[in-house]
């Protein structure tokens, strides 16, 4: 084995420039792939981080029928007791109560359909990205009565400013038409048309008043986890906890926000496919180099076979050469790509992109974020090493058909 590796190592370095070019091309292609995938992963992570904090969280406990037919009357009761038990689960970081229902925002200048979210201001203060997106006024506080924060687009359409009055109309839990006058406390601007134009937040206490709910009622309890990878485990624990009540269900965020989940899956998948296509194009050049390097040594392989080296061992040498090239190129590529990702992690693009941008209706910070995962580094790097190793199969086949006596002529 030692001799095999020694022969392979020295053979690949006999043409130093060609080897450096091969390794360099492999490294450059993989570095770019690692970099772009890490940036995409970082963007998904940040998107999810922000969306989940603004919405219910990683897991949502709600009325079992609410998901299929969202209606304010499909609510939870006994919320404080259940919430306390959920908060005791070791993997749960934060719990929050929410009341979410449809409504209409009216002013003298018109009416716009909105999603009304009743939130706990003190909990949201540490979570919601909206707080950092206020362009006028201030965020809600516990104990606020008849206060609302609205998006910049909504305030523009209804011609409203901080301090102006607004009427929220909806149906309460009994189906009765209800209306409440509120005063704008803050205006946010996220860059997302959905949020800026059709989303309002009010204190949860006032939401109970608006929707005629009891103090122990809410539409949802949201759970944010310490480690998102524990989602399935915690979901099982919560399901066990609520098993006795058929009217209550626990859903992961992917089920609550299927459009976001689908977007991420499709975008991630297409991104991987694109990167792999680019990599394979680069690999084709590398394949050519490996093949040429083997074929120009026909005579040398013939000598080895004549001396009694088994054909398998000769083929193994080609495999080891490819593996060494693969490990060098891919290792360097992963290191470079990771370095680039880490170096640009956290760079703000605010000057280019403004305050944020909209992805599938959700808000993303204008930050260049990179997240290196084992799938990107070890997975992609390893897969490329395997592909490069598999490339040696063709030269192996060609060398195994060498006619030794012809090669000596």
């Amino acid at each position: 084995m030692k001799q095999l590796v020694r022969l392979a190592w020295r053979s690949i370095w006999r043409n130093r420039r060609r080897t450096l070019l091969t390794v360099g091309s492999m490294a450059a292609a993989l570095a770019l792939a690692v970099y772009f995938l890490a940036i995409a992963e970082g963007m998904y992570g940040r998107l999810l981080y922000q969306v989940l904090r603004m919405q219910a969280g990683h897991l949502t406990v709600e009325n079992a029928q609410h998901l299929d037919a969202p209606s304010i009357d499909l609510r939870l009761s006994g919320v404080p007791t259940l919430r306390a038990r959920l908060q005791d689960l070791p993997d749960v970081a934060i719990t929050k109560e929410l009341i979410v229902g449809p409504g209409v925002a009216n002013s003298g200048d018109g009416a716009v359909g909105v999603a009304i979210a009743g939130v706990e201001p003190s909990v949201e203060a540490s979570l919601s990205p909206l707080i950092h997106r206020l362009v006028a006024g201030s965020y809600l506080e516990d104990g606020d009565e008849r206060a609302v924060i609205v998006g910049a687009e909504l305030s523009r359409r209804l011609d409203l400013e901080v301090g102006n009055k607004l009427v929220l109309s909806s149906n309460d839990v009994d189906g009765q038409l209800v209306q409440q006058m509120v005063r704008i406390k803050g205006i946010f601007k996220t860059g997302s048309l959905d949020l800026d134009g059709h989303y309002v937040q009010i204190p949860i206490g006032f939401a109970r008043t608006l929707f005629s709910m009891r103090p122990d009622e809410a539409t949802q309890i949201g759970l944010l986890l310490h480690d998102p990878d524990q989602l399935s485990t915690v979901q099982r624990q919560v399901a066990g906890m609520i098993a006795s009540n058929q009217r209550v269900a626990v859903w992961p965020w992917q089920k609550i926000m299927p459009e976001l989940s689908s977007f991420m899956k499709v975008d991630k998948g297409s991104n991987y496919v694109l990167q792999v296509i680019i990599l394979l194009m680069a690999m084709f050049t590398i394949f050519n180099t490996i093949l040429m390097s083997a074929l120009e040594r026909k005579r040398e392989f013939a000598v080895m076979l004549a001396l009694g080296t088994s054909p398998t061992r000769v083929k193994l040498q080609l495999l080891v050469e490819s593996v060494i090239l693969g490990v060098l190129g891919c290792g360097l590529g992963v290191l470079l790509g990771s370095g680039m990702a880490l170096a640009t992690d956290g760079i703000s693009l605010e000057s280019i992109m403004g305050g944020g941008f909209d992805v599938a209706g959700f808000l993303v910070d204008p930050l260049l974020l990179a997240k290196l995962t084992p799938r990107i580094t070890v997975g992609l790097g390893g897969a490329m090493v395997v592909i490069v190793a598999l490339m040696s199969l063709v030269p192996m086949g060609r060398i195994s058909r060498i006619n030794v006596t012809d090669a000596f002529r």
Partner: protein, 237 residues
Amino acid sequence: MEPIVSLTGVTRDYQQGEVVVHALRGIDLEFRPGDFAAVAGPSGSGKTTLLNVMSGLDQPTSGTVTVDGQTVNGMTKSEMSRLRLHRIGFVFQAYNLLPVLTAYENAEYVLMMQNVPAAERREKVMRLLAQVGLEGMENRFPRELSGGQQQRVAIARAMASAPALVLADEPTANLDSSTAAELLELMEELNQDKGMTFVFSTHDRRVMRRAKRLVLLKDGAVEHDATPDVLDGPESR
């Protein structure tokens, strides 16, 4: 004494376009331990083909080849490799050293293939390199050696595993006359001192004269098989 190589009714035909070339035509030969035999003849007489068939690098079209008691006909590639690895040493006209290995590593190559322990390898290879006059040149790569020195390394490589037979295809063809003479002396010494069997092809009369046995080929058939004295006859001049 049992022959090391025995060829019985060996023919080898090649297809060259539309024409069939009869490279060997019914060769019957035996080489015994201790032979120092030259296979000679004009270009195209079948010298190289004969050596290739004897070593299992080429298969005869008909007839039987036996090496060290094993019939080569019908052997698989792996079986042939094993036979060559353990029983046959090669010296090529163009030296054919592996360019990425040093003189020491080239000489050691066959022993490593045979999984000989490192200490034993080292002792053998160092002794052999000294014997072929390459002491102190162990770490030189082939490109740093002269033609004669490279051929010495090739001889050391061929001898390293103490094979039953060393086949040499025109071993002196690329060497100047004094280097060629030195090399032949070395091969003679090994033949006399170690009893190593050499069969080499040549068309150099000076080389033929130093052989103990001369096999002359003409058009793929054995024309003469005896001592090289025939070269002194009037018809050979």
